[in-house]
Amino acid sequence: MGLLAGCTGGDGGEGSADPLTVGVLVPFSGDYAWVGANVLPVVQMVAEEVNAAGGIGGRQLRVVQGDTEALPDASLSATQQLISVEEVAGIIGPTSLTYSAVADLFVENGVPTVTPTAGTTTLDTQGGEYVYRTVPSDSIGGRAIAAAAREERINGIGSFGSMALMVGQREVYQSFKEPIGSSFTEFGGTVVSELDFRTGKASYESEVQALTDAAPEITALVASIEDSVKIMEAAYQAGYEGSWFLTQDQTNVDFLSQSEAVVTDGALGIQEAPYEAAQADGRAAAFDEAIQAYAGWEETRLFATNAYDAANLLFLAMHKGQVDDGAVDRASTAANVRAVAAPDGTVVTDFDSGAAAISEGTAVDYRGLVGPIDFNEFGDIAAPFSIRRADGDSWVEAGRVRPADL
């Protein structure tokens, strides 16, 4: 699907009818190819919906892949390809892995960039003019984990006093460590041990031995699905009795299917809480159904909702530029991303309703699947978190953490 679906077939004619290009700048090869596999279909689906409704200013949207390979030099040429050759009007991406290598190019070329995946804390104090994100920062995510671990009323198991931090040696995981550790201490808990481990190892017996020696009540395990399965199974074999707290990467059905209930049952996880409003009016369910059909998934994958919101925001911003100044350009689109999400506008929840309202000249407030999408000065969003507990091969919601609580 991915190979073919890339083509949204602009009509190739000259003048205003030539296609409006949007770049998806994430890894499509290497260990992180799954990120591209999760994000691309969502952006293509939304783009096809927009094109079906006549596109933006009569111009069809064209989605182009920029493969960063999760390598700095490859991400630089991928970004240059999107900005200079494809002349994209906006970019969905990049991930935390290559953000710092290419951030300069976004700002210099004034390219509106909405990343659905980069939770890294390095972005906490950057962005906001050209770079926005529809995924909450790891610092908020980490704080929510700490808060949930301390409150039985949220996690439904117990108020944990001692915690071990078991974190993979990659920026995308290390970015969680400080927020979880400091918040947990701030909320009155004690961090009994910090274990950084090399990712992608064959087995983790020694690391688990160190964990069982520390004997924490709960372990915050920040790692990939495959490493988490290995660690939790090794811990089960070593007789580890404590609980687990996992991050968004692992809180999904795919993770549960890779191990056995006896290991995963009772493990706590975290996901952006499906926005009550989105759940109440059935949008979340409708999206799940649509994307699972479109991309052939059995379950809505990680970053899918974030990518949905990112795409809608970007296209609405372009549409606003088209309506206000009769043309889509990078500078206006960048400013419009913030405008179309401003809290004071009338609430809209998808491109069609949003575009219609904008065409009539009313200010809109886009509210997505991930949350209300109200950007702070750095282009970050706060989102409510759903704390989940593994039960057999599915996750049960144990409680909620609102941004206000943190």
Partner: protein, 347 residues
């Protein structure tokens, strides 16, 4: 400064990366092409240079939020650029000398494995020793000299010229070395270490000098890379880089000084051009929706649709490149078959 837009901007980026790979290939050619030292750990010297340049030029830890590294000498730019590049070159050479002193006497197959293993150890050190390399967060504030004053487009062009000039200078210096008796001694050591030894040449020292020089040039490439990308992270220094440089050398021509640089440019151009396969495919289907579109769709239909499919095809092509060059054109594009007896017959 609107000159660097559109295709030009992309080509400027790709050309700068090609210059950096050109330096790496010259270094490897000095080690393998001319001296017969099978180095499968070239990326370690590249990384040593990049990290040294970062450590010498990065701001001190206190000023950077969340810094885990301890040393940041904040050498002022742009004056300090030569200093950081010199340090990078020196560190690449020192690391190569350290590895060389222990491994140089090994027979070529074992040297390949030893260098491959030592590069693996060096990668683990980069990831684990946070005090030095900031761990997997990487050194992300490496200054880009004159970046503020020139603005993006002009700077991109200026840095390309700088990288090309560095490549040219290294090319000329190494070229002169290779024409001098030094080059002749290397080739003799490559052909038969025993005979060279019998003719009074201290072959261990010569191999060590060649290996260290190759490592130093790779270190310099690391320095040029660090100031270009502005961030040095462990994710960049994987074994794939070593074998990309090997592919460039084989393509260009083993033991051909010109071939090494040409090979690097050809390979980088090939790698970057495969980015456009999806767009070219879309354009082709869009342009001829009925005839070609049907054929292409039919062709593509059975292929697995997951996005990792296309990039894996690219790597398979690079693999085939290794196989075909060795089998049908061991001398590579510009290599001289006469010269490359080492590829033809065992000592």
């Amino acid at each position: 400064m609107a000159i660097v837009t559109g295709w030009v901007a992309f080509v400027v980026t790709v050309a700068t990366i090609a210059c950096i790979y050109g330096l790496l290939t010259i270094g490897l050619n000095l080690q393998f092409g001319f001296t017969g030292l099978l180095n499968f750990g070239h990326v370690a010297f590249f990384a040593a240079g990049a990290y040294t340049a970062a450590i010498v030029s990065m701001p001190p830890p206190g000023t950077v939020p969340g810094a885990r590294y301890m040393i940041g000498l904040a050498v002022p730019m742009p004056a300090g650029l030569l200093l950081t590049l010199a340090a990078a070159t020196l560190m690449g050479g020192v690391l190569a000398a350290l590895i060389g002193v222990s491994a140089i006497r090994l027979e070529s197959h074992y040297l390949a494995i030893a260098t491959f293993a030592l590069a693996g150890i060096f990668y683990d050190v980069l990831v684990n020793e946070r005090w030095l390399t900031n761990g997997t967060f990487g050194m992300t504030q490496v200054p880009k000299p004159l970046r503020a004053t020139l603005g993006a487009d002009a700077w991109a062009l200026a840095y390309l010229l700088f990288a090309a000039a560095t490549l040219a200078v290294v090319y000329l210096l190494v070229g002169r070395l290779l024409e001098a008796p030094f080059g002749r001694v290397l080739r003799g050591v490559r052909e038969s270490t025993a005979a060279a030894e019998m003719l009074g040449k201290d072959t261990d020292r010569i191999k060590l000098v060649a290996f260290s020089l190759g490592g130093a040039i790779a270190g310099l490439a690391g320095g040029v890379y660090a100031h270009y990308i502005g961030s040095v992270v462990t994710g960049q220094f994987v074994a794939g880089v070593t074998f990309t440089v090997w592919a460039a050398l084989l393509l260009g021509g083993v033991a051909s000084h010109r071939g090494a640089v040409v090979g690097a440019f050809i390979l980088v151009a090939f790698q970057q051009s495969t980015r456009f396969i999806t767009t070219a495919y879309d354009a082709a289907v869009a342009a001829f929706p009925d005839t070609l579109g049907v054929v292409l769709t039919a062709l593509a239909a059975p292929l697995p649709g997951h996005p990792a499919f296309l990039p894996s095809v690219r790597f398979m092509i690079i693999g085939l490149l290794f196989i075909l060059v060795i089998r049908f054109r061991p001398a590579g594009v510009l290599g001289d078959p006469q010269e490359v007896t080492v590829m033809g017959s065992e000592e």
